[in-house]
């Protein structure tokens, strides 16, 4: 129950609420407000994982997003998530965390043998070793490497959580609630601007929570609380904690990841787990602060070694000591605050300062408190395997390349500080070219690219006074430009300690004959020697060195390693850092869940479902649906134990023998109106349209400008200047855009309007030899004879009291009609048809039967009009006018379209009259020919001909018109079938088209 490293009364956690959790099966306790990391450290646990390549024991290193090591598999609230950053994840009751990348356990990991074989795992190891033989890659090398490199395990369970997306607009987005962020947000809010302030941690205030400063005579923490309280009370301000702005995209679009429910013990089912915000900001303040960088030394990855600021944060925010015998290893003054913090809590630190003896406000204070400070000193190598036990330290000579004295001191933790690196990720993502700032040995943002303004430490300003001033000014000026209001704000008085200059020192030398690993990138196990090898092997560009060594390529994006890597390269290459340059920063800044990216667009909500007005009836009558774009269409209506094949055969046969009805609501419908409508259609379609009389329909063919068939359908002249166009279901949206393009851009002089009416009309086809008899019962007062309503005729009449349109058009090749009523009347129409049709043997038929009917008639559809065929390829050249111009006409004269052996549609029947031919089969002369076997064509559509009772297919074949009567093989490697076929005409049934006219 006791937490041996927890301090009394220190920290911002809620000690009234104890939280139980488990780590690697062991039951432990923490407090509300802890992270997994702080709770484990409070319990004295440091060994949390094994490293990526060498399986070395690893512990916590940071206290937030910078953490490279502590990635855990975490189960909470009913789901299991891999690679969770233990320094960011808040403790919740019942949470269970386990170490990753170790087997059988984190304490005894067999993979650690890699550590002893490390001479065999240098940079580029994988590239060099697993090249030969090639066939080994998939079967042996890759599965092995994947297993060995394994991070966490993704859950295979369905994610039951709710994720949301939100779109937001604001005048000013402030990313980070440290002193600069608070100041900018406050100044902008006072000017009346719409402000969003985002903080990735649960607590607002950033460094104000840990630094020993005062503002307007308030402690940093109290001042932050005061400002946040005021901001929250303002209606023009949105304040968000647990929210990480992780991406800066074009046109000032920023994306933020909010952890809404992960920290809640119980949440309503409507509370999302996480939320993704798309924020379009007029101006952006980047107050993302800076991240401490380490100094590189031997075995610097041993558990118990921390960034100095992280140790301070654990102490001040969580009331946790990272050790009781600390070594502070620094090249600057900021680590002295950590040392003073230890001292205040009655722990005696030793400070090793790489600088020569000098004085500053903080050094003097440390001295006055009696802290042991050793100047010109540094840690050479940490001793201890699973936890640091002691350190070999050395006194550096004047050139800092060798040692005057070496000794070993006992310690249980090392807090290291190699100065500060501004977090410029978002600025860089916005397109900002960074510049190198010599004074702080780091990159800071250069000239603005979009509307990003970096303030505070993110801009390289490391004093509170300067940061606040700059932030207040920028927040005020940027917002005043938008709101045209400027409220004067007095910049508060600041009391902070003055830091002395830092030492430009980042890597400890090694004594002769010692060669411990010195890690630059902890998460990807990249050491100093790896970078040396890469350079020795000729890699020069920093981007290449990065890829060869994987430096900075882990999920922490090299937050603690990039700068040290650059320094190392620049030292070896004898170049200055700006010449070496930096690698590219890319979103997301921190890993985000796939669930958040997907949001609500899963399952039924993946895309809208379009249902026809008759959908309910289809459902009740055992329809099996098929997706046609967003539409649900009945594929067949199942009776008893029928298979798809049996049902579609029955339905198709019934159409050929009696009559059937089919829901054709999904066909695209476009209303075309205007005095120039006929002229427009004449240009859009390949055939002639100027003389179509009112009350008549015509089949039309539409091309793209390159001569390829775009779509087909019928268009009916409803009245003088009013046409009703139909398109295929799939092309409805494209055809409308196509028409709009020509009307708005190419021929604006044509007085025509087009609008989609697909949703406004419900349609049903009545097809079969008895369809006229049935129609006459549906319209008892209407003359529906062949003379009064001939093929391609059109009439308007009342359908049992509701207005309707009757088109005598046919897709099935049978005598057929299509009835349209307003959508609201669709179900009524359908039910009436079912009732009236009974005596004629009417049955509904689905898309499968519909396909059978059109295929055996040789009518082309989507599979033939596949974006590669011209009219003559599909035997529709009869519809191509020679007299007039139309879209795509000029392309039809192209040489390749007119060669004798041009591809053409044909029919295929199997020689045995039994074997059905798989769609997509290739047509070849010799099924046993050596590969590559020349392909003569492909099977586009297949059916079981109900008329002839054998399989029949349509195919597009090279030199098709001269192939009739010849025999080939239709080969489907996918189905492992080869079927001998004979080529016949594509019009297998009723080639003269008598039925539609009967």
């Amino acid at each position: 129950m006791s937490q041996p490293f927890r301090l009394n009364k220190v920290g911002l956690i809620n000690r009234n609420k104890k939280i139980s959790f488990t780590f690697n099966g062991k039951k432990l306790f923490g407090y509300e407000g802890d992270t997994i990391a702080s709770a484990l450290i409070a319990n004295g646990i440091h060994l949390v994982g094994r490293s990526f390549k060498y399986h070395r024991p690893r512990g916590f290193f940071g206290a937030g997003v910078e953490e490279p090591n502590a990635k855990l598999q975490v189960e909470f609230n009913g789901h299991s998530e891999p690679n969770v950053n233990a320094t960011e994840m808040e403790l919740v009751e019942g949470l269970s965390a386990t170490s990753q990348n170790c087997w059988p356990s984190v304490n005894f990991d067999i993979g650690a043998i890699n550590n002893f074989l490390k001479m065999f795992f240098p940079a580029g190891f994988y590239y060099k070793t697993f090249m030969w033989p090639k066939s080994f890659w998939y079967k042996i090398y890759e599965p092995f490497i994947r297993k060995a490199a394994g991070l966490g395990v993704a859950s295979i369970e369905k994610d039951k959580e709710r994720y949301e997306h939100k779109f937001e607009y604001c005048d000013l987005l402030v990313t980070g609630s440290g002193p600069s962020g608070l100041a900018s947000a406050y100044a902008a809010a006072k000017n009346g601007a719409k402000v969003i302030l985002a903080e990735d941690k649960p607590r607002f205030g950033g460094t104000l929570l840990t630094d020993d400063v005062s503002i307007d005579n308030l402690s940093g923490k109290d001042w932050a609380e005061k400002i946040i309280t005021e901001l929250k009370s303002m209606p023009n301000v949105t304040v968000k904690n647990r929210s990480q702005v992780f991406g800066y995209y074009d046109h000032n679009m920023l994306v933020m990841f909010e952890r809404v429910g992960d920290h809640l013990e119980k949440k309503s089912k409507f509370t999302p787990r996480q939320r993704l915000w798309y924020i379009r900001a007029k101006e952006t303040i980047l107050s993302t602060g800076s991240i401490e960088r380490p100094i590189v030394f031997g075995n610097n990855d041993t558990p118990g070694i921390f960034l100095s600021a992280a140790a301070k944060e654990y102490m001040k925010v969580y009331g946790v000591l990272v050790g009781k015998k600390p070594l502070i290893f620094t090249n600057n003054d900021s680590a002295y605050e950590t040392a003073l913090g230890f001292k205040k809590n009655n722990v005696e630190p030793i400070i090793l300062d790489t600088r020569e003896e000098h004085s500053s406000e903080l050094i003097d204070e440390a001295k006055s408190k009696g802290i042991d400070i050793r100047f010109s000193h540094g840690v050479i190598v940490a001793n201890g395997y699973k936890k640091v036990k002691s350190a070999k330290i050395g006194k550096l000579n004047k050139d800092k390349n060798s040692f005057e004295k070496i000794e070993t001191v006992d310690c249980d933790c090392i807090c290291v500080s190699g100065f500060w690196t501004p977090s410029v990720h978002l600025a860089s993502q916005s397109g900002n070219k960074l510049k190198y700032e010599e004074k702080i040995d780091a990159f800071i943002p250069d000239k603005k690219k979009q509307h990003e303004t970096s303030v505070g430490a993110a801009n390289g300003s490391f004093t509170l006074e300067e940061s606040l001033k700059h932030a207040f000014e920028n927040g005020s000026n940027l917002s005043a430009k938008i709101t045209e209001t400027k409220t004067e704000i007095s910049i508060p008085n600041v009391n902070e300690k003055k830091y002395g200059a830092h030492d430009k020192f980042w890597c400890m030398p090694l004594p002769k004959n010692e060669n411990p690993k010195r890690f630059v990138d902890f998460q990807n196990d990249v050491s100093v020697s790896d970078i040396e090898i890469a350079l020795r092997e000729g890699y020069r560009s920093i981007e290449h060195v990065k890829r060869y060594t994987t430096l900075g390529m882990a999920t922490d994006q090299g937050r603690t390693s990039n700068l040290n890597g650059l320094q190392l390269v620049s030292n070896i290459e004898n170049k200055i850092v700006p010449e070496v340059g930096h690698t590219t920063f890319r979103p997301p800044f921190t890993p985000i869940t796939i669930g958040t990216i997907v949001g609500r667009e899963v399952g039924m909500e993946y895309m809208p479902t379009r249902k026809t007005p008759m959908h309910e009836w289809h459902e009740k009558n055992n329809a099996v649906f098929v997706d046609a774009g967003a539409w649900k269409r009945p594929r067949y209506y199942k009776q008893g134990n029928e298979t798809l094949f049996e049902a579609s055969k029955r339905e198709a046969k019934n159409v050929r023998e009696n009559v059937g009805i089919c829901d054709v609501t999904t066909l695209g419908k476009i209303d075309i109106k205007g005095p120039d409508a006929a002229e427009f259609l004449n240009r859009v379609y390949t055939n002639a349209w100027m003389k179509l009389p009112v009350g008549k329909a015509r089949y039309g063919l539409m091309l793209r400008e390159d001569g390829i068939v775009m779509d087909d359908g019928t268009t009916t002249r409803i009245s003088e200047n009013h046409y009703h166009m139909t398109t295929t279901t799939a092309q409805a949206a494209n055809v409308l855009s196509h028409l709009e393009y020509y009307l708005q851009i190419v021929w604006p002089e044509l007085n025509v309007n087009v609008v989609s009416t697909t949703e406004q009309w419900a349609g049903a086809a009545i097809a079969g030899p008895k369809s006229r008899d049935m129609l006459s019962k549906l319209y008892p007062d209407l003359d529906v004879s062949n003379e009064a309503l001939p093929f391609m005729g059109y009439k308007e009449a009342e359908f049992f009291g509701v207005p309707s349109r009757i088109f005598r058009i046919s897709f099935s090749g049978e005598l057929a009609y299509e009835i349209n009523v307003k959508s609201d009347h669709g179900l009524f129409m359908w039910e009436k048809m079912m009732e009236v049709g009974k005596e004629f043997g009417n049955q509904p038929y689905g898309t499968e039967a519909l396909s059978t009917l059109r295929i055996e008639m040789g009518h082309v559809a989507g599979p033939e009009l596949d974006g590669r065929t011209i009219p003559s390829d599909v035997s529709l050249n009869g519809l191509v006018s020679k007299k007039k111009d139309f879209i795509g006409k000029n392309s039809l004269g192209r040489e390749a379209f007119n060669v004798e052996s041009r591809q053409k549609i044909v029919g295929l029947i199997p020689i045995d009259r039994k074997s059905s031919i798989p769609e997509g089969s290739h047509i070849v002369q010799d099924q046993n020919a050596k590969l590559p076997n020349p392909k003569l064509g492909h099977v586009s559509s297949s059916c079981w001909s109900v008329e002839n009772n054998n399989p029949f297919s349509l195919a597009i074949m090279k030199d098709g018109k001269n192939m009739i009567g010849k025999k080939f093989f239709a080969v489907s490697p996918l189905k492992n079938k080869s079927i001998e076929v004979e080529v016949i005409s594509s019009h297998y049934v009723d080639p003269e088209g008598k039925r539609v006219r009967s």
Binding site: E705, S737, Y741, Q744, V746, W747, P748, D885, S891
Partner: protein, 89 residues
């Protein structure tokens, strides 16, 4: 995601638009003789400039108007948008 000012509807997210290619291409007049070369240039030949490009977009999830957008193809900066009947210079 781009932020495109539709001349009819105002600033809207890229999601609402679909791209329509080079806006400076002019279709040969209907019913007029055109050489094979001119026709091929119209159908197939497009410049792919790095930098300023005048292009067509259609506000498909909005007013359905085709519009002209002058955009930098490298930086995505949008300099100007206009109705198709207007000139961009």
């Amino acid at each position: 995601m781009l932020y495109i000012k539709c001349p009819y509807c105002g600033l809207r997210a890229q999601k609402e638009f679909s791209y329509g290619g080079d806006a400076t291409v002019k279709r040969p007049n209907i019913n007029e003789e055109v050489s094979s070369e001119d026709w091929d240039n119209f159908v197939y030949m497009r410049k792919s400039p790095r930098g300023k490009h005048i292009e067509l977009w259609q506000h498909i999830a909005g007013c359905r108007q085709w519009i002209k957008v002058q955009r930098d193809t490298a930086t995505h900066e949008i300099f100007q948008t206009a109705k198709v009947t207007e000139e961009i210079r």
